[in-house]
Symmetry: C2
Subunit: 337 residues, 2 copies
DNA sequence: CACGCCTACCCAATCGATTGGGTAAGCGGT
DNA sequence: ACCGCTTACCCAATCGATTGGGTAGGCGTG
């Protein structure tokens, strides 16, 4: 009972001696006032009183009738991941601007949790979902489509579904061009999780461009890994042990993995930026602050979040939005200069 | 319309030839079945059918009647701050376990936004608030109390209100003991924002213990700053310019500020851990991964989040919970060893 | 003058779950 | 046979906003 002295539509109506439905029409219809809802004078009186009494419509009641909650459900792997947290900030902001509120949950990239969380969201009657943890395999998305749940993807894409992502293929391409032009010919990729389009696309963009430049990338120079520092460290160890000759440059598809890799390089007595170039992805605020600042692909995370909300809005309005890919830029720093 | 073929209480009742109210009582009352709500056989039939049809009660309708949403509103400075994001994970988990959902918003520590966001939350009819961005000054909390909005604080405390925080005073004390025992006698503090109890308490804990150990801390060795890397860097610059003799140890009340400070030390040709010891606070996952691993006070962030939810639950149940301070531990690493 | 059309409202049903107050049937006891 | 009690339900109001369908009065027009 946080609302305490709740003012209802009926209270306003009674006080003005008019019918609640009239009050509703005046306050609710954005512009329908002109179209016969009420006289200008009455509308004015109603709005004044509403303001004075601090009337705030009960979304429960409205939703019960309209079957809409103006709630968007957001599912992310984890909010303590800076990337998703930042995208979420964009979503929160954009949703607020459209009169929606957002609802986030963490799935920890676990398929069971994903299912549980979507169910919780739907039980809350969200109008639609924004899914930030889509897996390339798995059939949750198909199920949701079958159940006619409106949703869009963010961060990761899956072909056939509307999504707002970074153009990860382009991001990988930029890194390939950069390292090639710096004269590197012997590189390795810390590729991330194979179920995530971010990992797959960044890697593919890099590898494809590298090959079309005439470079070679043997199979064991592409190492799949977790997205965190520990994952990056392990992957780098792996590369240092198994790749001969040792690569002169590493591309990690994620800044945290890159930081882990830098640690591994250090422990092997290699100097980052000198012996081995390292490039990360996302340009999280930390990249620039490291002792050896990390080159990284900057992805427009806030905009991606905002775009996702707009896509979902369009979907809710009956359109069938196309996937959107926002352009990344490469920030070159000491680690690869 | 995410729920699509929504099954209602009435559908179940009709199919079984009984009254909706009976179905409601069976499904809703946790254990009231024994107390004359319905026969065991009927209860069984109802529950089976509910499961089979995938019935999920409409929270809008229930809330409209009961005036409760089972929603907790959470307000944080920003979710892209790892500390708050982690606490939020704890809250989300604990809330789910109690049958509540959480609703987060970012205030960016801006008083106007704080007000706006709380209003949005209340308009959504949350049952209570968890406030993670409380300012020591300002009168928002008093207003909320006057409006009889149930809330608890998390992360930061303000005396007189229930809160779940780290024992920040103790944290500061631990750091003082540690640096003193390492033989430092000349220290400075990067103190954070003076409106946040985290900053104030950590600083006070440190300074008080330092003095009681017989140490001295001149006024200009305590520098207030923002909580991010840039803030830490500026504060460190400030200290290096104005403190003579230069301190041999720095305590930053936040890991990010510590990282910024480490950067500043480096640019002055000083080696962290060798020339100058640095200790941070929160033990964010990055601290251990830095080239020179950062000593930091580990605060039990997940538990703090969980505790906050439990406090709010107790408050909603009519109790008046006391503030809870969870104990931190010091993790000593190279930066101060 | 009669008719139709606005204008400015009112009426009542509705969304789905909850809950206080019934009530009929059945049974035991006297 | 009657009373009282329990069991197992049913009934109907209620929460607050929305919305399709009125309707009374006024005005213009042929």
């Amino acid at each position: 009972m946080a609302g305490n002295t709740t003012v209802t539509l009926r209270d306003l109506a009674d006080e003005l001696g008019i019918h609640p439905s009239t009050v509703s029409r005046i306050l609710h219809s954005d512009s329908a006032v002109a179209r016969g809802a009420a006289s200008v004078a009455t509308a004015e009186r109603v709005r004044d009183l509403a303001r004075k009494r601090g009337y705030s419509p009960d979304p429960q009641a409205a939703g019960l009738r309209t079957r809409r909650t103006r709630l968007m459900g957001v599912i992310v792997p984890r909010l303590s991941d800076l990337v998703l947290a930042t995208m979420y900030e964009g979503m929160d902001e954009a949703a607020a601007a459209l009169g929606y509120s957002t609802f986030v949950m963490n799935s920890r990239d676990d398929p069971q949790e994903q299912r549980r969380k979507t169910d919780t969201m739907l039980a809350r009657r969200v109008d639609g979902l924004i899914i930030g943890d889509a897996h390339l395999d798995g059939d949750l998305l198909r199920e949701l489509t079958d159940r006619k749940v409106p949703f869009v993807l963010v961060n990761r894409r899956v072909s056939g579904y509307p999504s707002a992502t970074c153009d990860d293929v382009l991001g990988g391409t930029l890194v390939a061009d950069h390292l090639w032009s710096k004269g590197h010919r012997n590189v390795a990729v810390i590729a991330g999780e194979p179920y995530a389009s971010t990992a797959v696309d960044r890697t593919a963009g890099f590898v494809d461009r590298w090959r079309s430049l005439g470079g070679k990338i043997p199979q064991n120079s592409v190492v799949w890994s977790r997205f965190d520092t520990a994952g990056g460290r392990e992957a780098a160890e792996n590369i240092l042990t198994h790749c001969h000759p040792a690569p002169t440059a590493l591309f990690a598809v994620n800044d945290f993995a890159a930081i882990g890799a830098m640690g591994a390089l250090r422990s092997h007595g290699l100097t980052v930026g000198d012996d081995v170039a390292v490039v990360g992805f996302n340009d999280t605020s930390l990249a620039a602050e490291l002792p050896i600042p990390l080159s990284s692909v900057r992805s427009p995370m806030l905009d991606i979040g905002r775009t996702a909300v707009q896509l979902l809005k369009r979907l809710l309005d009956g359109e069938i939005p196309e996937p959107v890919r926002l352009e990344p830029t490469l920030c070159v720093r000491e680690s690869s200069a």
